[in-house]
Symmetry: C2
Subunit: 235 residues, 2 copies
């Protein structure tokens, strides 16, 4: 039975890394003593080791050990044997490129579908959707595909940002970008604001946190989704 947290962001403004999620994670990873961390998204180009150390420090406060997937000779086995998995944020293109390069897309999909508890934040959440076509990140590397893990049957837009009505900047708003996506792709896109997450338990998918989320469906007006709404039929 799937057991997944798909969080918009790791960090809230004025908060520390993973702070707002920690009480939740204590329960989510209740039966887990060592978290397998996937540091591939490398925020700011940080090394796998440094990124893993940062995560290790936080998880130690809830008495979890952390091991980076890059510390294993065989990443596929690391995933198959993992008690719990966390994929951190950073650049989604870099992350997806490494997932393909290390040939672990399928094993990650299988492990999580079979019930290994998973946490994704930001880029690590983007990959829970059908494709990474709705990432906000800059395409700094060219991955072999945009197909991702499909733990939910729609796309995620993390760090969803409402249009700034006072802006004089002429670049596209997030909403415009997602509408453009729908000129070329059919699947719904859920814009998750910072502080929101999806809780996937078996077939149930629920919006959590205090905020509404913005749902974009092809040929429909966007709508606001309330916390605790069941999204299992969204596809």
């Amino acid at each position: 039975m799937k057991n997944i947290i798909i969080a918009s962001t790791s960090t809230l403004h004025n908060g520390s890394y993973l702070e707002y999620l920690l009480p939740l994670l204590e329960n989510h990873f209740k039966k887990v003593s060592t978290i397998l961390f996937i540091p591939y998204a490398r925020p700011g180009g940080i090394s796998h080791d440094s990124y893993t150390d940062k995560v290790r420090q936080v998880f130690s406060t809830i008495n979890k050990k952390t091991k980076g997937i890059h510390e294993f000779d065989n990443p596929t086995e690391a995933i198959e044997n993992a008690e719990g998995i966390f994929t951190g944020g950073g650049n989604t293109f870099v992350l997806v490129n490494e997932l393909y390069r290390n040939n672990i897309i399928d094993s990650l999909e299988n492990a999580v579908n079979k019930g290994t508890p998973y946490l994704g934040t930001s880029a690590g959440s983007n990959i829970c959707g059908l494709t990474m076509n709705t990432t906000n990140d800059m395409p700094i590397v060219y991955p072999p595909s945009f197909r991702t893990l499909g733990f939910v049957s729609f796309n995620i837009n993390p760090h969803y940002l409402d249009p700034d009505l006072n802006s004089t900047h002429m670049g596209e708003t997030r909403e415009t970008r997602i509408n453009e996506f729908h000129s070329f792709n059919p699947q719904p896109v859920l814009g998750l604001r910072e502080g929101s997450w999806l809780e996937v338990k078996g077939n149930s998918i629920k919006l959590k946190g205090d905020l509404t989320a913005r749902l974009f469906r092809k040929n429909h007006s966007p709508e606001e989704i309330n916390p605790d709404t069941e999204l299992k039929d969204l596809k």
Copy 2:
């Protein structure tokens, strides 16, 4: 001899489409009676016809005819025979995908290198750099490559945006994104603010407009470049 305008944006806040560039374009396209327009970037998912109509309307005010490349049976011949070429903004992934799909990367490169006057705005400017890895656009389609036309030996970041110091949003700033690019790629990136453009004449590349541009080089601190600076040695 190359004769190119690489503009950050087609439209300034409170301005109309191409308005601020028109006096310049009258001279740039002085010997051109019909502009070949490449509408592939489809801003907002607009059709090729509608986009071309919008451009036609503006160019008619300086007595130029406009023909969309999609109106030709053979796009390669359209480029080879063009008197002047304009590639408009929209989504860079959609644009580059169509350039490859229609197999016109090489003919576009050849025509412009041989002297056909070219104008790019936004996505149409992104493709003048070595690669499209520094676009701001959402990756709504998967192009066969990120390699672009390389009319300049660096990358362009159009609509360059300074960090908003009052923002509480945790998504990356533009500067952070470009620094991440340099963790994986060597070439310089020029952040062109809205209202700036590059004027390429033969081997000369000069920043034009009233604003400075922000230059990012791997392992260097970013620097501000003044208007009229010669950038031909930047690579």
